[in-house]
Structures are given as C-alpha cells and as structure tokens.
C-alpha cells in the first residue's frame, strides 16, 4: 500500500535487443507534477505508452490507486482517469476542435451508445467541451473549424483540452511543448501550472525552462533506466545528471 496515485513497479520492455525500459520503478502522488527528462531515444515515450496501456510491458506492473491495471487496455485505463496526449499530435483530422473535445466529454459521461439525439445541438456536450477549450486558451472563434486547418500550436492546445475534458486523475503528457514557439511555450506552461492540484501530471518535456517551472519531482531516464529521481534542486545539483544529460 502506498499513497501514490500511480506506481510503476519494475517495468521492463525490450524491442529485439534494445532495452527501451529497464527496471523502471517510480511513483506519482495524486497532486504532483512529475517530469521525466532524458535524451532522445531514452525510452520516455515507450514508458508513457506502457502507463497508458498502448504497450504491454514484458514484466513489471502498473498500479493506479493500488489497483493493478497492467492487463487493462487503453480505453479501460482512460475510463479510470488516465488521460494522455501524444508526442505527435493525434486528433481526429476532419473534426472541429469542439467535436474532438466533445468525444472526451461523452466518454466521460458514458453515453456513446445514444444513437438518436443530435450531438451537435446537445448543450450537455457542448458546454463542458467549450469550457475545456477556453481553459487551455483556445480562441472561441477557432473552435468550429476542422483541426487540420488549425496551427500546430492550436492543435497542441486542443489535445490538452481533450485530456482535460476527461476530468482525469492523472494526465500523461508527452512533450506538449514540442514544436511550439516561445510565446506558445510560455502560455502552455501557464496553463499546466494552473492544473496543479486538480490532477496529477506525468510530463515528458525537453524545454528546461518549462521543466523547472513546473516540476515537483524530476526523474532522469537514460537508456531506459531511471538514473536519478528527486526534487528539481537535487536534479540540478546531481553530477551524474550533469554528465549524462544537462551538461551539454
């Protein structure tokens, strides 16, 4: 028993001869922002995928509030309060931002088998979706056009709004700032900061300003292993981390 919301216990995952996840154990408390940093190819996305349920670990387990969810698929984990964003934007291309977020709302309401009533005129869908979009700073005028006509930055916002609309207990964010310009980065950081306390966040991020602005704890992943884990101060001070990652 622990008071951690998410516990990873001895996760291992190999791709052929490559050890992408090497005996990873870590905890995320229910109110913390836990950031994972590490060089490209360290296995960060692979780890996120195992937490989300998209990849099955070779061994080890994933616990969510002490429930072993290792064998559950992605939808079942999402219904238990795990929301994720993808490193490469993955929205439904010809849906508007509002429709993309609405899907998350209807999932949260458990109502995807209503076959008759119009979804687009349903305020019980529209209003929570609109609210999630405005929380991430999406301009109201941009919510009704197909997401493939939105800018990269806007799509990242929509992804976050989709995750928010699930009212998750834990958000898994894989490089939400990837490809964002300076101002968009600052905005996104501010949005994430406001989520503190509402849900736990397991964040993969390269942008060091964002990392140190947000993190309660940081774990450093290199070659699939957690080589250090601690507060931002501890990580900054660690020689090992300096050499492996920060000191370039």
């Amino acid at each position: 028993m622990s008071d951690a919301l998410l516990s990873l216990r001895g996760l291992n995952k190999t791709f052929g001869a490559l050890k992408a996840t090497d005996d990873v154990s870590l905890d995320v408390a229910s109110d913390e922002i836990h950031v994972i940093i590490g060089p490209n190819g360290a296995g960060k996305s692979t780890l996120i995928a195992q937490v989300a349920g998209a990849l099955k670990p070779d061994s080890g387990s994933v616990l969510l509030s002490d429930e072993d969810v290792t064998r559950l698929g992605v939808p079942a984990r999402a219904r238990r309060g795990l929301a994720r964003t993808f490193q490469v934007s993955s929205l439904i291309a010809n849906f508007s931002a509002l429709a993309n977020v609405s899907l998350a709302v209807q999932s949260h309401q458990g109502s995807s088998f209503r076959l008759w009533r119009s979804a687009s005129r349903d305020s019980r869908l529209r209003e929570p979706a609109q609210e999630a979009l405005s929380r991430v700073g999406m301009a109201a005028t941009r919510c009704d056009i197909p997401v493939d006509e939105l800018s990269h930055g806007e799509r990242r916002q929509v992804e976050l709004a989709v995750a928010l609309a699930l009212q998750p207990r834990l958000m898994l964010l894989d490089e939400p700032m990837a490809g964002l310009g300076g101002q968009d980065c600052i905005n996104m950081t501010a949005v994430l900061k406001r989520l503190r306390g509402e849900c736990a966040i397991l964040l993969v991020e390269h942008d060091m300003d964002a990392v140190f602005a947000l993190a309660d704890r940081i774990s450093v992943l290199v070659y699939g292993r957690v080589i250090a884990s601690g507060t931002p101060q501890e990580i900054r001070a660690s020689r090992e981390v300096q050499e492996a990652y920060l000191g370039n």
Binding site: G73, F86, S90, L91, I92, L103, F113, R114, W116, R117
Partner: protein
C-alpha cells in the same frame, strides 16, 4: 454555408427525382420503367446500408451481398412456406410462413442482424485489406450454403409466384410497390442521418478516422463498429427482401461477390459518407445497364470507365463533384 445549401438542394433534387421518374413512367403507362425505378430505389437502399458501415465507420465490407441475399431469402422463404402451408421452423417454436411484406422485412432484419453480429465480431478483429477479404470470405460461405440447400432450390433459386401483401395496400400494383420501396429508402436515409449526428455517430466517425485517439479518450472502437456493422447489414437486408418481391425470384447469386462489388460501386460512385449518394450511384448503374446494356454486353466496360473517372477526378464521388467536400463535424 453556401456549400451547405448547395448540398441540401442537390439532396432535394435527388430525393424528388425518383418519384418524379416513377410517376412519369406510370402516367405513360410504362410499367417496366416503374419497376426499373423501384429497382434503383432498392439498390440505393442496399447502398445506404453499406454507407453506414463504409462511409461513417470506415469499414470496407466486401461482403454486404451476404446481407442482401439473406434478406431476400428471409422474405422468400416466408412467402414460400405460406404458399406451401408449412412452417418455416418448427423448433423451438413453430413459425408459420407468411405472405406479408412486413413479416418478410422483419425476418430479413433479424436474420441479417444475427449474421452480422457473428461475421462482424470476427471480421472487426482485423482491419484494412484483411477486413475486406474476411467479409468476402463469409459472403462466399453463405453463397455456397445457399447453393447446397435443396429445399430452397439450391443453385436454381426459389421462385415466388405471388408478391407478398402489405396491409391496406395493393402491393402487386407497380406504383404502390415503388411507393413502399421509396418510403423505406427515405426512412433508412433518415435513420442514417440521425445515427450519424448522434453521440454514437460521433464515436463511429472517430473510430474510422483515428482509433488510437478514440481509445485514448476511453471509448472502445470495437463495440461501436460492431453495432454500426449490424445496423448497416439490417438496412441492406431490407433491400434484399424488397428485391425478392420485385423480381419474384431469389437465388444464391444475390450473395455472390459480384453483388457485393456492385453495392460498393453504388456508394463509391455516389460519394462515400454522403447521405443521398447511394441513390446517384444506383441510378447511374441502372441507367448504364439499361441504356448501354441494350446495345452491347460490354456495358460494364463503360461502368468501369465511369468509376475510374469518378475515383480519379472526383474523390468525393458524384456528390463531391456537385457540392464539394463533405461538411466537417
């Protein structure tokens, strides 16, 4: 908005074209052409069924002839036993035959729904080209099953001597029969429209575009697609039941792969995922068959050219060429 209005207008024209054609033929005393328009309506209905799976759910079924044929056999078998005075089944309960169209439709819906549940449950575990092949394989299995049952005529098929009745109407009248077909076609389009715009429809479109995303928000794509596949099959089965009544004949060829291909052609020609498109597709198909088929047996060569042109130059089918890209949601 202007585009949206153009689409409504085109839909209206398509919807009115069928009864206008049927009435004109009837006024000219050309009962053959009334039946021909009924045929268009029935084949369009089969396409409307497939369109729900293909156009909204992204399921490229190459086996919808199975449901068309099952619907035809269901209606045919009920009529056959009514004529014979024997029960359709006698265990676990006895069900007598009935020369009634609503009974035939209901039988078609139930049989096709159950078949689609089994076929879909297995086929939907695959995707892409495997899904196409496995649906084709199931349809071919049913085809050979129909060939091998002598009670219902085997490969020779089953002749229905009288068209089944409809309470309060004279179904043997060609125009009345057309009206029934047309009413069911419009009902199916209405149902598709409601489903497509519902929460379920949103999830279904989501599943066809990005299953990973749908799963990530906690909706399992599989049951959504399976339900849509079953409804799709049931609509196509009703078309099959009507087809049996139209031609007074049911045979295994209704389940053959060629029929599956034709239903696909109606949808693709007209425009995948567009409500009224299967009517255009079926109409073009029947027009070519009637006009050019009367001159040369090679009319399907022309059909091939038309299909090629549509696929290459109008990606949204004829509907796409007329009104542009489908409206996003």
């Amino acid at each position: 908005m202007a585009k949206h209005r153009a689409e409504l207008l085109v839909n209206l024209v398509i919807a009115l074209a069928l009864p206008a054609a049927a009435l004109t033929a009837w006024a000219l005393g050309e009962s053959f052409y009334v039946s021909l328009v009924s045929r268009v309506a029935i084949l369009a209905l089969a396409g409307v069924g497939l369109n729900l799976a293909l156009g909204y759910g992204g399921m490229v079924s190459f086996g919808h002839a199975a449901f068309f044929g099952l619907g035809a056999y269901a209606a045919g078998i009920f009529a056959f036993h009514a004529f014979d005075g024997t029960p359709v089944i006698s265990w676990p309960i006895q069900i007598m035959g009935a020369a009634s169209m609503p009974v035939g439709w209901l039988a078609a819906i139930v049989v096709a729904g159950l078949a689609a549940l089994a076929i879909g449950a297995i086929s939907l575990r695959t995707s892409g080209v495997y899904f196409i092949m496995i649906t084709l394989a199931f349809a071919q299995m049913l085809y050979y099953l129909a060939v091998s049952i002598p009670t219902y005529g085997g490969a020779d098929g089953l002749i229905l001597y009288l068209r089944s009745g409809f309470p309060g109407l004279d179904s043997s009248d060609d125009l009345t029969f057309f009206a029934l077909c047309y009413a069911l076609l419009m009902l199916a389009i209405f149902i598709t429209w409601r489903i497509a715009g519902s929460r379920f429809g949103m999830a279904l479109r989501g599943a066809s575009r990005n299953e990973e995303r749908l799963a990530a928000v906690g909706i399992s794509p599989y049951p959504i697609k399976l339900v849509a596949f079953c409804i799709s099959a049931m609509i196509t089965a009703v078309a099959g039941a009507l087809f049996a009544e139209l031609v007074g004949f049911v045979s295994p060829t209704l389940m053959a792969w060629k029929m599956s291909g034709e239903i696909l052609i109606f949808v693709i020609l007209g425009g995948v995922g567009r409500l009224y498109a299967p009517i255009i597709g079926a109409a073009i198909f029947i027009l070519l068959e009637t006009l050019i088929g009367g001159i040369t047996d090679r009319w399907q060569f022309v059909l091939g050219l038309v299909l090629l042109g549509v696929v290459l130059f109008a990606r949204g089918g004829v509907m796409g060429a007329l009104t542009g890209r489908a409206r996003h949601v």
